[in-house]
């Protein structure tokens, strides 16, 4: 949808100054992104018609946009009185960037989800016993809330590098999500 300011002028001074500010701040606009749309209903024997032109706000009225004018002479005024002209504006660049960005984020999330649910268990089974930390993942209990933290800390101090930190952070995150999943989906404690 696009900016619609009726040519039947309603006093909205604040909005037009703000609009002017936005126009002055923004960069060169695609000429296709502005238009004036005039809708003329059926008049006498002439059918209804829609006229569109890429003109600016000051030229957005019946006389400039309706071409070719179907009526002659003094009927022009009566015809134009029934037409309704709207000035509309949009930003096609914003729409394109937003949709493509959204789709890429969604795609990445879906790929990660497929990896977590399908690929990682298969990989883990192949590398069974490589790291004890993965086994620790399953026996986190509520009885020793700080003991496990201590274990994690002591292990990480032995190999302090970036990859390990990422792995530990990921393990911690997965544990949290598992806890959340238990509360929400299994025990129905929160967010029922």
């Amino acid at each position: 949808m696009s900016t619609a300011e009726r040519v039947h002028y309603k006093p909205e001074a604040a909005q037009t100054t703000e609009g002017a500010l936005l126009i002055s701040i923004s960069t060169a606009r695609n000429s296709e992104d502005i238009r004036c749309k005039c809708i003329c209903p059926p008049y006498r024997e002439f059918p209804g018609q829609i006229y569109k032109q890429n003109v600016s706000l000051k030229d957005c009225n019946c006389l400039h946009v309706v071409e070719p004018m179907p009526v002659e002479g003094k009927d022009v005024e009566a015809y134009c009185l029934r037409c309704e002209c709207k000035y509309e504006e949009r930003s096609s660049g914003t729409i394109k960037v937003t949709i493509i960005m959204y789709l890429s984020i969604l795609g990445l999330l879906l790929l990660y989800m497929v990896y977590l649910t399908l690929l990682e268990p298969i990989l883990k089974r192949r590398l069974f016993g490589h790291s004890q930390l993965i086994q620790n993942d399953d026996d986190v209990g509520d009885q020793q809330p700080f003991a496990n933290a201590h274990n994690v800390l002591s292990r990480s101090h032995s190999r302090p590098n970036m990859l390990n930190k990422v792995e530990h952070a990921q393990q911690r995150w997965r544990r949290q999500v598992q806890e959340q999943r238990k509360s929400v989906f299994d025990r129905h404690v929160v967010l029922s």
């Binding site: 949808m1 696009s2 900016t3 619609a4 039947h8 936005l22 296709e32 238009r35 809708i39 003329c40 209903p41 059926p42 059918p47 209804g48 018609q49 829609i50 569109k52 009566a78 009185l81 029934r82 309704e84 509309e88 504006e89 949009r90 930003s91 096609s92 914003t94 729409i95 394109k96 949709i99 493509i100 960005m101 959204y102 984020i105 969604l106 999330l109 879906l110 989800m113 649910t117 809330p145 700080f146 933290a149 800390l153 970036m162 930190k165 530990h168 952070a169 911690r172 995150w173 949290q176 999500v177 959340q180 999943r181 929400v184 989906f185 129905h188 404690v189 929160v190 967010l191 029922s192």
Partner: protein, 796 residues
Amino acid sequence: FHVYQTEADCGRLLPSQSLLVLNSLPVCSPLPGVSSATPTEEMNGAGNLMDFLDEPFPDVGTYEDFHTIDWLREKSRDTDRHRKITSKSKESFWELIKSLLDAWSGWVVMLLIGLLSGTLAGVIDLAVDWMTDLKEGVCLSAFWYSHEQCCWTSNETTFDDRDKCPQWQKWAELMTGHAEGAGAYVLNYFLYVLWALLFSFLAVSLVRVFAPYACGSGIPEIKTILSGFIIRGYLGKWTLLIKTVTLVLAVSSGLSLGKEGPLVHVACCCGNLFCSLFSKYSKNEGKRREVLSAAAAAGVSVAFGAPIGGVLFSLEEVSYYFPLKTLWRSFFAALVAAFTLRSINPFGNSRLVLFYVEYHTPWYMAELVPFILLGVFGGLWGTLFIRANIAWCRRRKTTQLGKYPVLEVIAVTGITAVLAFPNPYTRRSTSELISELFNDCGALESSQLCDYINNPNMSRPVDDIPDRPAGPGVYNALWQLALALVFKIVITIFTFGMKIPSGLFIPSMAVGAIAGRIVGIAVEQMAYHHHDWIIFKNWCRPGADCVTPGLYAMVGAAACLGGVTRMTVSLVVIMFELTGGLEYIVPLMAAAVTSKWVADAFGKEGIYESHIQLNGYPYLDVRDEFTHRTLATDVMRPRRNDPPLAVLTQDTTTVEDVEALIKDTDYNGFPVVVSRESERLIGFVQRRDLTLAIKTARQKQDGVVSSSVVYFTEDAPQLPASNPQPLKLRRILNLSPFTVTDHTPMETVVDIFRKLGLRQCLVTRSGRLLGIITKKDVLRHMAQMMNQDPESIMFN
């Protein structure tokens, strides 16, 4: 294990009558063997970038998950911090700058929240617009355009078919080449259902795998969090990301849900995210909740394009404590968010919401009768919805239905899509439906609702719409609208509360708008055909402007929304900000007031309070009035048959006894008395602090063994030299716990809990400790007094 350190605090005495002592006396010497990098650096604002990957160590003074915070302690900590900064600011110029930065940090956070919320709302709006249209067809010239955007520049639109253009094709036309016919219709139908199922399946899978807290509306949980409850991860980064992404999917799938409630959750997540930038907010749970209140206002502001309504919504519905400072900051955040959204311009008209209306036709006094009737309808529908939805959610919670969330979402989406496609009013998105119902018919409208019989010889200008008889298109539309009404009423009951982000503002407004428009058209036709009746004679002249059905739709929407959520002022302000004029305040208020009265006659709670009750959150509502004549003795524990109160003595308990006490019981705290004989109260100590302190002492201090005596006095007790070294725990003792006498009326006790945000209160008689009242006991007592199930309160 690491204790929060502030070098500047070492050796400083705090006044003993300060309300809380916990965590204000830090350990002065750094504990050996533990890296002390993270918390001190965080406090100074710097910090290793990779520190967020390290596991955060629990401190004395933080809270456990699913527990209530101590408001008084947080307030006192903030006052201490502020006093320290003010006193240091006189020392040097740099300290003065730091104090100014600290004062301005609140405004910076508000600005950032407004910017991010506005941006996310813009992204959500644009993506929903596109994906909703994706179910029906695709734009061939540029796939990222929705239907309207695709046909924007086309010259091939005609007056009758002003929505069609060759660049945008429906799926049937794209795949088979036929645009009309039964085969094309079936293929379109099939693909519509398929897309809807795909979107909702993706949404529920993402929620399940990445962020289970992202489901639901979010407003009941945010209300509880703002009242002092802790739900770790509820406002986290992954929840923010997943909620934004899956909200678009859920709304686009055609389900009967809205995005306003989830937008509040998204805005609060943004608030939480920016709080972690400043230690003023990240370390203090009370200050953080001030920021979250303002963030909630920004969320509603971008959802409705109503900044003032957003602030009032936050004040009335979401927040618990709302100091005046928060009012001004919320307004700022809401304005920044609204301005950011307007710059992104998702709907292309510099309006912030899809259904902004602009007409200013007057209304007449006699129309108050149908408006009040719409209010009654709204109240009745609200009651019906709340009862049905809570019953269904309870069933989901307790029976087998709850074990198949993914299947449930898919099933409901399938049913919705299959039933929604045939009716053109339910096939399109609910926001577009509301927009069409709100808008009045000009002479150029081509929708079925505006198919009035025109006199083509009229020469009136466009704006002056005289009364006209309804054409066949209008009657057709009325039938379809009635069916849509029934459909929406039924399906929303099953949709709200599923395991995907779902709001209910838009579906309620849709129900009300449909009902309102039907009533409006009925009144309009009655006025046209019977303009010689007494009521219409003075007000409706033939050929003159009389009834505006669009206004009835707005009033209906306000009535239904008020009936479900029981909002009062904020509802009226949101609605009049949506309509842009003050002319319609009286009808809106009449409908809102009527619907609230009717709905309150059946049950006092709105939908959010009912969900809070269903989940058993410890939410002490400020609106509930406690008028019973019970006393503190009736509620306190231990009761007559219970084991005696678990206490610690001031200098005779050993470490072993304390550990046994902690292991055997699950109380959150223990009172400390002088001795078991005299039972005079010294203070109160929290379970978590006891656990941490004893653990530290065993590891770090020499000579502390199981038989060491624990003492809470200033000086060590006189013990023979052969005894092991005693352990001083005075610094974790709260020396000023709240006490009431046993004859205090419960009315006062409830008031104290509410106003001060207490978690527990001790009961004494003649100075001797009798028992304890916790927040859970108060909530259970209130539930019992209202004949509800007291066992449903689950948390403390």
